[in-house]
């Protein structure tokens, strides 16, 4: 879009945020009673739902069972009405399959799969409204859902996207900022140890700027961790009040 300033001279972005500022995050765990674990997250206008089933016996062919750890199975699906233009197929297209594999890679690094050999953990993520940062919202929702299911994890997995405009790194890109075609970095971080579970970047970025963008994404992921931590503690507190402790 010609003439659209992603970063104004005073340092404000299109939606009024600062360069390193995240969008408002609201989350809730235990949305569905029938699933083992579920969570819902809203990052600005991006809404994602994650549901976890497991650990349970391997469905389908028993030959896929791993003798020493659990199999993590992820599906990414975005509703047909989630984007501005109507999507024809919610899942099964190449992008959704790729996202599913990325989510799988992310969570295999975080979930303690050695504790559940020969079983399967299903993580299903549904995007209800897409306004940029869908991968990050999905990872954050899935983390909460896995915690809600009681599956042991090494650490939280917090994700955030970052971009680069006019010499400044931007954190948590919205759809408008993603659509301009600038470099976008998606980062999934395990905050306590600082380990990176997934790092993906599109478009060209000079290697001198990579450090700056990576640092912005890592800082934003840690901020997401603060929010998610608070949500989990609040949920545990509510649950213990209901149980009468």
């Amino acid at each position: 879009m010609a003439g659209l300033e992603l970063l104004s001279d005073q340092g404000y972005r299109v939606d009024g945020r600062r360069a390193g500022e995240l969008r408002k995050i609201q989350a809730r765990m235990g949305v569905f009673a029938q699933a083992d674990g579920s969570a819902y997250i809203e990052q600005g206008n991006t809404k994602a739902l994650a549901v976890v089933y497991g650990p349970h016996e391997i469905r389908g062919s028993r030959a896929r069972a791993l003798p020493d750890r659990a199999l993590v199975n992820c599906q990414y699906s975005s509703a047909t009405f989630s984007t501005g233009e109507r999507k024809r197929r919610p899942h099964g297209d190449r992008k959704s399959c790729e996202m599913g594999l990325q989510l799988r890679q992310t969570f295999e690094a975080a979930i303690l799969t050695q504790l559940h050999p020969r079983s399967q953990i299903d993580i299903y993520v549904q995007v209800l409204q897409a306004d940029g940062g869908t991968y990050a919202a999905c990872v954050n929702a899935a983390t909460l859902a896995v915690l809600d299911a009681g599956i042991p994890m090494r650490d939280f997995v917090c994700a955030c996207s970052a971009g680069f405009v006019d010499g400044t790194a931007l954190a948590d890109l919205s759809h408008v900022e993603e659509a301009t075609g600038g470099p976008q970095l998606a980062l999934a971080l395990l905050p306590a140890s600082g380990q990176i579970a997934l790092l993906e970047m599109d478009a060209r970025l000079h290697e001198d700027h990579l450090e700056q963008v990576l640092e912005a994404a890592a800082r934003a992921s840690r901020d997401v961790h603060t929010v998610l931590d608070r949500v989990v503690r609040q949920h545990v507190q509510e649950a213990s009040v209901l149980l009468g402790d």
């Binding site: 809203e42 509703a79 047909t80 009405f81 109507r86």
Partner: protein, 271 residues
């Protein structure tokens, strides 16, 4: 006695939660929570060409996505069968008088509004058809289609102009949109709004699609068992009675929600 496992009578519904305008990328949306059944419907209005046999009307397209979050069996293509069955039922219950399709026409034979009604099944706790039809009705009530004008040049080429005010929209009348009432036959009695356990016990069910005036638009028998004609007539009468009550309460809830205006606190999945 008229008592079920959870204390309801044979004609009582579980507590229904309806909320509209949940997703902002749509022209209209609604979320319905009926016990453990959770449905999200989004309606998108797009410009299209009218069908050849109906040049003065717009049209509705239904698509049902059974999400894997309802049950792991729906992963990949597993939910497609159920999805197509529900979509076909929706096509059948909507007939000529349900929605005023002529109001969706912009210029005959050239442009019309196509309403894509997308149903997302998030959690399955029994009685899918009822919940989906309630959600579709609520979403259509919430749909706001932008007003357009057709401008003609001297050469005769037409240009479509969108009005400048984003709130200048046409609203559909959902007076005649039907709702489905599912009646499951368990033993010698029939029940309305069956849970998953009750559905497992019933051999046959009757789907009755009723409008708010009590007119039956479609009837379908589902299930492995068979029904004798007397029970079908009884179930039909119950369906009409229950349907009218359902429509009345749904209309009052939708009007009450709309009267709260844009300042209403949106809850969505966070509440």
């Amino acid at each position: 006695e008229d008592l079920r496992v959870d204390g309801r009578g044979c004609e009582d519904y579980r507590c229904v939660e309806v909320e509209t305008d949940v997703v902002s990328n749509t022209s209209g949306s609604a979320r319905v929570k009926l016990g453990h059944t959770d449905i999200l419907v989004g309606v998108k209005a797009e410009m299209g060409t009218p069908k050849l046999e109906k040049p003065n009307e717009g049209y509705l397209e239904f698509f049902v996505d059974c999400s894997a979050s309802a049950t792991p069996e729906f992963e990949g293509r597993g939910g497609d069968d159920l999805g197509t069955e529900i979509a076909n039922t929706l096509y059948r219950i909507f007939n000529k008088s349900s929605v005023d399709l002529e109001s969706l026409c912009i210029s005959p034979r050239e442009h019309c509004w196509a309403l894509y009604v997308d149903v997302l099944l998030l959690e399955c706790g029994g009685n899918l058809f009822d919940a989906i039809s309630i959600a579709v009705k609520a979403a259509l009530f919430n749909t706001r289609i932008p007003r357009v004008r057709v401008l003609e040049d001297e050469e005769g080429s037409k240009d479509i102009e969108l009005s400048d005010d984003p709130y200048d929209c046409i609203q559909l009348s959902v007076e005649n949109v039907p709702c489905i009432v599912t009646l499951c036959k368990i033993g010698y009695r029939h029940v309305v709004d069956a849970t998953l356990q009750e559905e497992a016990c019933s051999l046959a069910s009757l789907l009755v699609s009723v409008t708010s005036k009590g007119v039956v638009t479609c009837m379908r028998k589902v299930g492995k068992g068979s029904l004798d004609p007397e029970s079908i007539f009884e179930m039909l009468e119950t369906g009409k009675r229950v349907g009218k009550v359902l429509h009345a309460s749904l209309q009052s809830i939708l009007h009450k929600e709309e009267s709260l205006g844009p300042k209403r606190q949106k809850v969505g999945f966070l509440g």
